[in-house]
Symmetry: none
Subunit: 225 residues, 3 copies
């Protein structure tokens, strides 16, 4: 797969290697069965992602070893990694908005599903991860920053780390489900409700139940049991 094809996939255009756009993933899980530099799922947001705040939630499980870098979420515009979420080589979980990142010590990702949310607000810069509904310590990260719109979101790969191709050693292997995103910070009680599978306001950027998505490469869409 060449860089050109990657970009087509990343930016939501059809390519000979990608499936047609599909809708809705209620009670479904995305399984990335092995390491590749070509398997990913593009997510089409419901609204432009010019964001001054957000809550991003997902449930994720992986068998990858602790010292392996893993991309968990990638939102990229033409020139910037607008919002990338990583599990770092040293085990920390991090996110990056157009430059240096913000790092958290969280319980390790394991073969069992973890519920993971990330909240950030431009006004104060307060950023936190939430694991199983419990908030990490706040960090102050890029107060005043605005995430740019008109980019593309993908799961499974870091779309542009090196010119000319995706990197298998950064790819996601495992399962991801219930990816939801809001353009505001959910309260503690809402995040806990989401963690326990209770009713919460639907994600207005991404709503797993009605999500428009496009599978590329080898990714299985399986029933959640």
């Amino acid at each position: 797969m060449t860089f050109a094809v990657i970009l087509l996939g990343v930016f939501g255009l059809s390519s000979s290697f990608s499936s047609a756009t599909q809708m809705g993933l209620s009670d479904k899980v995305l399984v990335f069965p092995y390491e590749t530099d070509f398997s990913f799922v593009a997510l089409i947001p419901q609204k432009e992602m010019g964001l001054r705040a957000f809550t991003l939630c997902m449930r994720v499980a992986t068998e990858l070893p602790e010292e392996r870098q893993i991309i968990l979420f990638a939102y990229r515009t033409a020139d910037f990694d607008e919002l990338n979420v990583w599990r770092e080589k040293d085990g920390r979980v991090s996110f990056y908005m157009s430059g240096d990142g913000c790092f958290f010590h969280l319980p390790p990702l394991t073969t069992f599903r973890s519920s993971l949310c990330l909240t950030w607000e431009s006004r104060t810069g307060l950023a936190a991860f939430w694991v199983e509904g419990k908030r990490s310590t706040y960090q102050v990260y890029k107060p005043g920053h605005i995430i740019r719109p008109k980019g593309s979101v993908i799961l499974g790969q870091d779309p542009d780390k090196h010119l000319g191709g995706l990197e298998a050693v950064q790819s996601f292997v495992g399962e991801v489900t219930d990816v939801n995103m809001w353009d505001y910070v959910l309260s503690r009680s809402m995040i806990q409700a989401w963690h326990y599978g209770h009713k919460v306001p639907k994600g207005n950027v991404f709503d797993w139940a009605t999500l428009e998505y496009e599978v590329n490469g080898n990714v299985l869409v399986v029933d959640d049991d």
Copy 2:
């Protein structure tokens, strides 16, 4: 103990070292008190084990050190290890069907009893372990494969790893109980029900309560307290 005698034991024939066949292990635990190359329990299935899917469950506890290989379940036909479940030297839990295995990072087996299930389905190849009712990440393993019938199942030893004898260093030491097997994949809710000791459909391959078995060597059948 010679290889000939081992094979007699393994394949369910009577030998001078094995007890007569017995029935039913309700509220009983098998205790393998120390490392041997001759102690095992043969399990006689209720139906032929030509399997396109299965669920295998057991409760298991061991004091063996983490870096010790341990056989947890062995089903062998004349020429193949049809279904072997291991705790590997590196701590992972694995299973093998006629060749290369499939490896999972699970919480360690300890001196406290763990409930462990394994599910696999030929159609998709989806394989997972379930620890305390929680599913591991799915792996895709040998889609289309069929487990062959007319073999023998034993607990406590790997029957044919090396021609000429069993290996003490692979033997099981500890307690095992509640071994059940179905020729289909149980749902999450059924596996959780089994974990909590609630009523579930009886295993149609092995049902601990009515299990036909044969003790060989030094294995204690004790009341579960």
Copy 3:
């Protein structure tokens, strides 16, 4: 920032770098966003701190690495560290009253909030930490000792470790909330009630809801969500 200015801050006098005294922190959290040698919060006690017994409680979260020394609470009079609470380099939690300390092995402080209480009584010397409402083993520490009054309490820095300045490498980074202190030992049931956020007698030395405090340097007062 010079030593003189620090002392002004520590001893509750106004300085050009410190905010005016404020009252009450109900539903607020103090966020110390990064390592400094100048950020701290001075707490003004409701009564003189000549103490023959006490209960000190707080909720605390930190991202600091395990091998990093962290000051958690510091009460100093002119010549003595009257009551300092530390997370030590070796991970133990300790407290010191005018000299050698008393060390406890507790679960590690993490990015998630821990509830931490410390009780001590002069008559018996019985000292214990309480984590999430569970008591550590008692230790006998300085029976007969009396904590001296007319000092100052600060959070975030160790005020006098080295003449001429605070040490960034001992500073607190993270979140602290719900700091309460009583001049007697609360019962187990009261400490558990406090842990769960239930109603308990208001702290008569410090009561978070009505606390008089003074922010110095870069400390955020944010809503607890």
